[in-house]
């Protein structure tokens, strides 16, 4: 396997007869802001779960920061942060209690954990509800808390599954700035999102998965180079995405079929 922050080799996952992820070879260099795209059911979440230890691959290998995940899982996990699908929060703790819990789980001492918790809650604008349990947070607040928990230990790789979904514009702006600063300092960010504008604005490199197979991978400029756009105008990520994923989609539903609605 080659060097890189995130490297996968023939990563495959089957669910019974369904081949959810099919022989994926990913290469993400350290410090990259990497966007992982694909239509619904393409295998994005399955891939991110395998990369973060939430799901065992059927075959293939995952290497993070030069360490093999299957044999060095604890060392690997110590250096990564995750906002998983569904956020993975303990909903009956308060935000502060949850951050303290996560900090201690990552081995931080109590003083550091408490200090970082307070700073993160302040930054995420969650500090004014100290007694509310997470179950009573709005979706956006829960998302911000999940993000705070993912970075409390200062990870070297950050996996974010739809991190901006439900987050208000103000907080999203601050978060984007924070994530940008983190990549400048060498943190690798692996992000999935359906909002292609966000990915285009934040990510330097992108991979596209479709029906479990990796159909494109490279920098935005490399992907643009492969697509013929209008002369004098830069091809957007949406156009690249539709061009790659839309190929051979003749079976897409036609609007006429919904005549009872439109």
């Amino acid at each position: 396997m080659t060097d890189g922050a995130i490297v996968t080799e023939r990563l495959t996952r089957r669910f019974g007869p369904l081949l959810a992820v099919d022989n994926i070879d990913l290469q993400v260099a350290a410090g990259q802001f990497f966007g992982f795209l694909g239509p619904n059911g393409a295998g994005k979440s399955t891939t991110i779960k395998m990369l973060t230890g939430l799901l065992a691959p059927t075959s293939g290998r995952v290497q993070l920061l030069g360490l093999d995940f299957s044999s060095k899982s604890v060392e690997v996990k110590r250096q990564i942060g995750v906002v998983p699908e569904g956020m993975g929060l303990f909903e009956r703790l308060t935000g502060s209690e949850y951050l303290n819990f996560v900090g201690r789980m990552y081995g931080l001492d109590r003083a550091t954990t408490r200090q970082r918790s307070e700073e993160l809650l302040e930054f995420m604008q969650l500090a004014d509800r100290p007694k509310s349990v997470i179950a009573d947070y709005s979706h956006g607040m829960q998302k911000k808390l999940a993000l705070a928990a993912a970075v409390i230990h200062g990870p070297r790789i950050l996996f974010l599954d739809e991190p901006f979904e439900g987050v208000d514009a103000l907080a999203a702006g601050a978060l984007k700035a924070l994530l940008g600063r983190m990549t400048e300092r060498g943190v690798t960010i692996f992000l999935t999102s359906h909002v292609l504008e966000i990915v285009e604005r934040l990510c330097s490199h992108v991979a596209i998965i479709h029906k479990g197979r990796l159909v494109a991978q490279g920098s935005l400029d490399e992907l643009r180079a492969g697509i013929a756009g209008e002369e004098g105008r830069q091809t957007t990520l949406e156009e690249i995405f539709l061009s790659i994923v839309g190929q051979g989609e003749s079976g897409r539903p036609q609007m006429e079929e919904l005549s009872w609605l439109v």
Partner: protein, 550 residues
């Protein structure tokens, strides 16, 4: 222009909900884990069916004798026992309820009437309700054998009694859920509950003395209960047997009035839910507090002996326990019941037995009871994790730390309860002899440590999500219920055998020595299995995450 949904009648809506329930059950059973669950449930159903059917014969015979001999007061007692079982049992054994939260149906254009009827119907899909209905049917059959002509009157009374009980049970359940959804109310209720239990201890001996004075004290108390539904039901049947149609009709009208009254209250509750009432801690708005500056002593940790991960899990478990009203009450119940048992079976003046059971007999039995009650939740120890379970698999730890943290919390609760119970025992009937005390405590360590290893494996292999702070619709997996039952039966058998051998050989210290050895082996075995359980967790993580994040 798009059309809008047409109107569907109440019957159609109920039929759709029934179909939905069937489809959910069918799809659920397709999963491998669920099939094990089903097998466990079938075993449980067979076991409890034997008890319920056996009691049905007793109710049938009781009703027959009551009618044949003219002791109608016995019939009243039968109705009272059914009402108490129907209403009280679900509070203590909430695990047998339906697992479908019918309030989720509110997103659909369901009428309030359909919502009410569906909610009411769910009240019948409950172990206590099914058993009670069966016993009421047995009473009907018993009366039919004694006096066939009474059958139509009995059917009317029994039907009203069933409707009223279903309504009360749903009403109590929904009110309790609403009340206990707030932390402050939970604390208040808990305080009242403890006070009531302690008060019972003071009046217990007086009641016991009164009971010893007259064998028919229970029956002589019945006239005071005559305005209440079970007495009305029994009296109405008695009136019908005496050919007093007016008294029978007024009895039936009384039951109808009770049913109407409770139905109105239930309608009011369900209407609030129908309007979108949300039960959560947020119901009581929290005052926004100023943030306190971080304490300079913040690095001091009372759990310094433990690794940060184990300490973090332990703290989290404590917070979850403190915030889960029903679990907290269920943990407080055993010592309180021990207190009650000491007055009933122990000491110089027991209220139930003629001679008090000696502390040497009472203490091992009491510990066995405590373990039976308190160890069962350990067999589904991830029940309340929800999506948070993912944190355990993304954090840099070995899963043994999570299990250790959870088991330590459980052991701490057990220790507290044992100390409380022992103190009560010492105050009420005295301590057991030293050999029995040591033997029993060692037996407890052996049983608890041994069970933790098995319970952890069951929790990982057959997880079942439970709703936090909810008493309705909660059930552990069928497999975990049966494994818990089987293991506890086996351990009780081993412990009894060792105690018996100690008595038989007339060597009071023999059980203590054997149990000390077993306890040491059990603790060593527990720690030896933690690594194996870590591997199990790794293999089972997909099932765990999928089941608990649902």
């Amino acid at each position: 222009m798009a059309g809008v949904a047409g109107k569907l009648g109440v019957a159609g809506q109920i039929r759709l909900v029934a179909e939905l329930r069937w489809r959910i059950l069918r799809n659920h059973l397709r999963r491998k884990n669920s099939r094990w669950d089903l097998i466990g449930l079938i075993w449980a159903a067979v076991f409890f069916s034997v008890i319920v059917i056996g009691l049905s014969f007793a109710f049938c015979w009781g009703a027959y004798i009551s009618l044949s001999t003219g002791h109608f007061e016995w019939l009243v007692l039968l109705f009272w026992s059914i009402l108490l079982f129907w209403q009280v049992f679900p509070m203590f054994v909430a695990s047998f309820g339906a697992t479908f939260e019918f309030r989720t149906l509110l997103r659909f254009p369901l009428s309030l009437t359909a919502f009410y009827l569906v909610g009411l119907a769910y009240g019948l899909a409950d172990f206590a309700a099914i058993s009670s209905v069966l016993w009421l049917f047995a009473i009907t059959v018993g009366i039919g054998f004694a006096k066939f002509a009474l059958l139509p009157s009995v059917v009317v009374i029994v039907a009203l009694f069933i409707l009223m009980n279903t309504t009360i049970e749903r009403l109590l359940g929904s009110w309790l859920e609403r009340l206990l959804a707030r932390r402050r109310t939970r604390e208040l209720m808990l305080g009242l509950f403890v006070l009531l239990s302690i008060s019972l201890q003071f009046i217990g001996p007086r009641i016991a003395g009164y009971a010893r004075g007259s064998h028919s004290s229970l029956l002589s108390f019945l006239p005071y209960l005559s305005p209440f539904p079970p007495s009305i039901a029994g009296s109405a049947i008695a009136s019908a047997a005496h050919g007093n149609a007016i008294a029978f009709l007024s009895g039936a009208a009384g039951l109808l009035a009770y049913t109407g009254f409770f139905s109105a209250l239930l309608w009011y509750r369900f209407a609030a839910q129908y309007r979108g009432e949300e039960l959560s801690e947020a119901a009581a708005p929290a005052r926004v507090a100023l943030r306190a500056a971080s304490s300079t002593n913040s690095s001091r940790d009372a759990l310094n002996l433990l690794s940060p991960q184990v300490a973090a899990v332990l703290r989290k478990e404590f917070r979850y326990l403190a915030r889960n009203g029903f679990v907290l009450v269920s943990l407080l119940m055993p010592p309180i019941l021990v207190l009650l048992f000491t007055s009933q079976f122990g000491g110089q003046h027991p209220s139930v037995t003629h001679r008090g059971i000696s502390p040497d007999m009472f203490f091992p039995g009491m510990m066995g009871y405590l373990i039976l009650m308190l160890m069962t939740p350990a067999y589904n120890c991830f029940a309340y994790e929800g999506r948070g379970i993912q944190t355990y698999f993304t954090a840099p730890l070995r899963f043994r730390d999570v299990l250790l943290g959870k088991n330590l919390m459980h052991a701490a609760v057990l220790t507290l309860e044992i100390v409380l119970s022992l103190t009560m025992l010492a105050l009420r009937i005295g301590l057991p002899s030293t050999p029995v005390l040591v033997a029993t405590l060692m037996a407890v360590i052996f049983a608890v440590a041994g069970q933790f290893a098995i319970a952890d494996w069951v929790s990982l292999s057959f997880p079942r999500k439970l709703e936090f702070g909810s008493m309705r619709g909660q059930r552990s997996s069928g497999v975990s219920i049966w494994v818990a039952f089987g293991v506890q039966l086996l351990l009780a058998g081993i412990c009894s055998l060792i105690l018996f051998v100690g008595r038989w050989t007339n060597n009071p210290w023999l059980p203590a020595e054997v149990f000390t050895g077993l306890a040491a082996a059990s603790i060593a075995g527990y720690f030896a299995t933690l690594d194996a359980l870590t591997n199990v967790a790794e293999k089972k993580k997909e099932i765990l995450i999928e089941t608990l994040s649902r």
